[in-house]
Symmetry: C2
């Protein structure tokens, strides 16, 4: 029988309808061996994110490299560049302008690309812990740098992995957006966390950490500072959250030791998804408190990974309620068992 | 430069970033001739919605047919059956049950399928006006019939057309869902329409009709009782709304003459999408007031068509803000010009 489950942060409902679905293993992609066989011997000539092709991107904003390297040349380990086709741009006017009975303003903000590593083929789940730590350090540095722009009210970090998850360039990369407003998803989470605090005291994400630790059936993996689990009200098959154990609103405040720890756990979590489901397409999203100068003590930052294994359609767009065809407890059990093979956390 | 536009009903923002996009014609699918050539000579043997295969569905709930026809046999013009894999079912308990710190209840409701016509190949934009009228009549009849169930708080009618828009069966059909709650998208629209009424008097959809008539640049086509246009704050390329000119909350109250008129306009609108973009995948959604016994005098029912020509990804899921790579004014102009060929409205 389908179940309707409620997210305790926002109050939103999700329908878990597994009768329409299938066993966890049937969500896996074409076997990875086949995908590997399709790879050309070297990196593609036309990839703008590969070493040697630095001239194909706008001038770099940041690179982690060795000494004596010239900007926009090979030799980098992580590289950050402006997006060539930005969804939000530095120029423009934030004053709303009427158009008939409607309103619009210029899309002021920024849109940049963080190239995970020089390796065209290794996804986040295949990188070693050291490289993931460099990537996270670059994210933190860009958050801190861009946070000085008072026009930016919210920063959104995402990775779209795989063509069907919206990645137009194959070389693994994330995107950092600066928005001139706090978006609805964050407004809902902020309101929900405030409501929980007023009604129960504390924070709903902290309560979830205690509950998931106790229940165990939705846990995926854990470390000293972080916990990865399938949320009770998962919206898509294999939805996985990576949550800091310590309550904190702002991702860029992450201290070095916790960043190192996150690098291991993220690599471990993404590795399980990668190995268990054969490199599935996914959207990874970092939810941090707004960067508009507020403290937001009620907010608990976290990472959400949404594998792209289903097609939201007329029901979901028209109602705002997701239908998930996988039981979160089964998905989590499957990922817990998907630890075979090289394990970056233990390597 | 990207623009941020606001929907006047809900207040939500959308980013129109055409620099990332392309000309209207480049959104078209593989030419229809090619798709036609791929069609086998007759309907597929395994289609559960084709005449002669009535035994492959659960027993029918409604059929429009001639005299002397036995149920679940050929000879029907429109046929309604329960969904074989329902997302919501008749049995169950609506009492929320705690699961640890969370809540869930049974997915009580209904989920049925309205088969548009016996023709496996003709989509909504290719059916004649008479057949579309029969389809709409069946929708209205099911809304009225199911509206008597007091456990159903909201009914949602959709068509998912094309595999990439979530259609698992090719034969054109719509789905009617009965939900045990009023979903968030409707709550937002209701709240927005109430807010508009309090601030400006009247209804924002009525105001849009006046504005779109005046501006003209976003209109697609019109009839005595209905108006089809691209909304100012379109969320996806070629988003098109079909709106009754007369303010009315509840779709099933549509009188016969307006239903006939809607059949022509819907056929005309979907025909333009079909011909202009070569049978694009799409989600069609009917937004009607809740069926929980309330009157909802502020609500204005309407149909939204979202062609599936883009991939919402990490930005959209994580922020709740859609990035639309097509300018609504250009999309509407393209559809206005796409009137070549047989025109069901004039036929």
């Amino acid at each position: 029988m389908p179940q309707v489950r409620q997210d305790i942060i926002t109050g939103r409902w999700v329908i878990i309808a597994t009768e329409r679905g299938k066993r966890p293993e049937s969500f896996a992609q074409v076997p990875a061996q086949q995908a590997l066989a399709e790879r050309p011997p070297g990196p593609p000539d036309d990839c703008p994110f590969c070493p040697g092709h630095e001239g194909m991107t706008p001038p770099e904003l940041l690179a982690y490299d060795g000494p004596f390297r010239e900007p926009d040349t090979p030799g980098w380990k992580v590289r950050v560049v402006p997006n060539k086709y930005p969804a939000l741009t530095a120029e423009g006017n934030l004053e709303p302008r009427p158009t008939g009975i409607y309103q619009q303003f210029d899309g002021v903000g920024f849109h940049e690309v963080i190239i995970h590593s020089p390796d065209h083929w290794r996804s986040l789940g295949e990188l070693d812990r050291e490289q993931v730590a460099l990537f996270l350090e670059a994210c933190r540095e860009r958050y801190l740098e861009r946070g000085r722009d008072s026009r930016v009210k919210y920063m959104h970090l995402i990775e779209n992995h795989g063509r069907s998850a919206g990645a137009s360039i194959e070389h693994p990369h994330s995107q950092l957006f600066g928005l001139p407003l706090v978006p609805p998803v964050l407004e809902d989470e902020l309101a929900g966390m405030r409501r929980w605090s007023a009604e129960h005291g504390g924070c709903p994400v902290c309560a979830m950490l205690v509950e998931e630790d106790r229940a165990g059936e939705r846990s995926v993996c854990e470390s000293d500072h972080f916990f990865a689990f399938a949320p009770f009200a998962s919206r898509v098959p294999f939805e996985t959250w990576v949550v800091p154990r310590e309550h904190c609103a702002h991702f860029p405040e992450l201290p070095d030791d916790a960043l190192e720890d996150l690098a291991g756990l993220l690599s471990h979590t993404m590795g399980r998804l990668h190995r268990g489901l054969n490199d599935p397409p996914y959207n990874l999203m970092l939810h941090s408190a707004p960067s508009d100068g507020g403290l937001y003590p009620e907010f608990h930052w976290h990472i959400e990974v949404w594998p792209k294994l289903s097609l939201p359609a007329g029901f979901e767009w028209g109602t705002g309620i997701m239908v998930n065809t996988a039981l979160p407890e089964e998905s989590a059990a499957f990922l817990r068992e998907a630890s075979e093979g090289p394990d970056p956390l233990l390597a």
